[in-house]
């Protein structure tokens, strides 16, 4: 039953561009995929270790800028810039983790917020590197041998592969002694340490993987929109990620993906359905109702 549903879902995902003719719809799906990677990365911290990063947009932005700058200035191939973006964001995650995860909890939240704020200011003011508020236009589309992945259909498959990759990374980690250590720290830290779980070490590890994955999403975003500006550091991105994780079901593998699809499609659907005055109101009302009736999220409520 579960297996059949999985196969059906995989077939649907693989054939989606043939069902959706409208490029605008495909665009929404691609954005949902990029947010799916982002939400999965945040979930690794928020859902499994219980630590809230409110500066996750910083790792996303670092990935976007790294990838854009390497391809624009140094003319690197996208296929090298992508892992470089993951590494750059991962290093940032390591530094923040080392700094803040000794204290954890509220301190970690504050340090991540401040970090995102500082990085955003750097991106605005370091004109020589980032071109400031004007941003970096003309980020090249990825090429695969003789083909350019300029079309939405091609890019859809690239993002789909990234979503599958992120999902698999999370799945393998979660179902291992590493994932159990992360959950143990969330559930009962003194008890976890009494059986030998090194709290700081595992939280930093989670921060590195999480930040690297956010960097991956950043790179995909940069080469999709072909433009990077300080807007990638907006706090709204972080808030959206948190909403996706919490509404979808934190601490579940599928939750962030369900949340990402729902909360990428919802604003677009509302835009089509009502005038702008009512959009945010309806969005907020739906969110409140969702959290009220499904406090643990959509996935835990309907499965298991």
């Amino acid at each position: 039953m579960r297996r059949a549903a999985g196969i059906l879902l995989a077939v649907a995902a693989l054939t989606l561009p043939f069902w959706i003719a409208n490029p605008y719809f495909l665009h929404v799906v691609i954005m949902a995929g990029i947010f799916g990677v982002l939400a999965s990365s945040l979930n690794l911290l928020l859902g499994y270790t219980g630590q809230l990063s409110l500066g996750h947009a910083a790792f996303f932005g670092i990935g976007a800028y790294t990838s854009a700058l390497l391809t624009l200035r140094l003319e690197w191939s996208f296929w090298l810039a992508l892992p470089a973006a993951v590494v750059a964001a991962g290093i940032a995650g390591w530094a923040i983790g080392r700094l803040a995860l000794k204290l954890r909890g509220a301190y970690f939240v504050l340090v991540t917020i401040s970090f995102a704020g500082v990085i955003a200011l750097v991106s605005i003011n370091w004109m020589d590197l980032t071109n400031g508020p004007l941003g970096l236009p003309g980020v090249p589309a990825p090429e695969l041998g003789p083909w350019s992945l300029r079309t939405k259909t091609a890019y859809y498959y690239l993002v789909l592969a990234a979503v599958a990759f992120a999902y698999e990374v999370c799945r393998r980690l979660v179902h291992s002694r590493i994932g159990r250590a992360l959950v143990a720290l969330r559930e009962n830290e003194p008890l976890a340490e009494s059986v030998g779980v090194d709290g700081t070490r595992y939280l930093v590890l989670a921060a590195v993987v999480s930040a690297g994955m956010a960097g991956l999403a950043g790179s995909l975003y940069a080469h999709y929109t072909r433009f990077v500006s300080p807007e990638v550091f907006l706090f709204t991105y972080t808030v959206t990620m948190v909403i996706m994780v919490v509404a979808g079901g934190k601490g579940t593998l599928a939750g962030p993906l369900v949340g990402a699809v729902l909360f990428t499609v919802l604003p677009e659907a509302l835009r089509a359905a009502t005038s702008w005055q009512w959009q945010m109101l309806a969005y907020g009302a739906i969110l409140v109702v969702l959290v009220f009736f499904l406090p643990r999220g959509i996935v835990p409520a309907f499965f298991r």
Binding site: R177, I178, N188, S194, V195
Partner: protein, 255 residues
């Protein structure tokens, strides 16, 4: 290996919770640490296992110095504790609780986990089998799939014991394992502790229930006001005048 505590002192501000306590826990023994409320038993546990930094003194286990180490490093030395207040991983099932306790038994690191090496999968299967065995040992096989926080109190204490055992201690520090239990449950936990000792695990026990303490212990150490006032076999300690005074107070004739 002997756990040796030398001149262990813990001060909270001006108050000395422990004022220079020294004792040894002989390998293979069941040793109890008793004393009236506020005598410093739990403080001693916390200081030995790294949850509290001692003001002065030294704790060592065999050749390893434990003072100054973090709790997770102390666990790595084979010194594992339980907590006075029930302490489980609440949202996890009984088996998952124990599986988490097996953390140090696993070797898999992040790269081999991500690459899903065959060695990692074999280790995972071995750990799961071991977790089931530990769950069966404490007599919770029939509860294996239930969420730990939903179990009755007495069984949660058994989960806690199973988690600690999963860490394969060579010395186990139990903080009031029988507190709040019915007398039947106390007998169960008593025979479990004896079984644990028979497997070669040294046990250091903090316990209020004198029937449990006197029935189990090879050695009893009595603390009062942060100092050791008596030490010896249960019989010796029970008839020690200082111990009687500490527990029952002084009579006018003695005072």
């Amino acid at each position: 290996m002997t756990l040796s505590v030398r001149d262990l002192t813990v001060r909270f501000g001006g108050v000395a919770a422990l004022g220079g306590v020294s004792f040894d826990v002989r390998a293979g023994s069941i040793t109890s640490l008793i004393g009236p409320n506020g005598a410093g038993k739990t403080t001693a546990f916390n200081a030995i296992t790294g949850y509290l930094r001692a003001t002065r003194g030294r704790v060592s286990y065999g050749d390893a110095v434990l003072s100054g180490l973090r709790p997770c490093d102390i666990a790595r030395q084979g010194v594992v504790r339980t907590f006075q207040k029930t302490s489980v991983f609440p949202a996890l099932t009984v088996v998952e609780n124990v599986l988490t306790g097996l953390h140090l038994r696993g070797r898999a690191e992040v790269w081999s986990v991500l690459a899903r090496r065959r060695r990692v999968r074999e280790e995972e299967a071995a750990l799961r089998a071991e977790a089931e065995a530990v769950v069966a040992f404490v007599g919770l096989a029939h509860r294996r799939g239930e969420i730990a926080s939903a179990l009755p109190y007495g069984e949660q204490r058994l989960v806690e014991l199973a988690v600690a055992l999963a860490a394969r201690p060579s010395i186990l520090l139990l903080d009031e394992p029988a507190a709040g239990m019915t007398s039947v449950e106390k007998d169960v936990i008593g025979s479990l502790i004896r079984n644990i000792r028979d497997q070669g695990i040294t046990v250091l026990l903090v316990e209020h229930d004198m029937r449990v303490v006197m029935g189990l212990s090879d050695t009893v150490i009595v603390l009062n006001h942060g100092a050791v006032i008596a030490e010896g076999s249960p019989a010796t300690v029970q008839s020690h005048p200082d111990v009687i005074r500490a527990y029952l107070g002084t009579t006018r004739a003695e005072g």
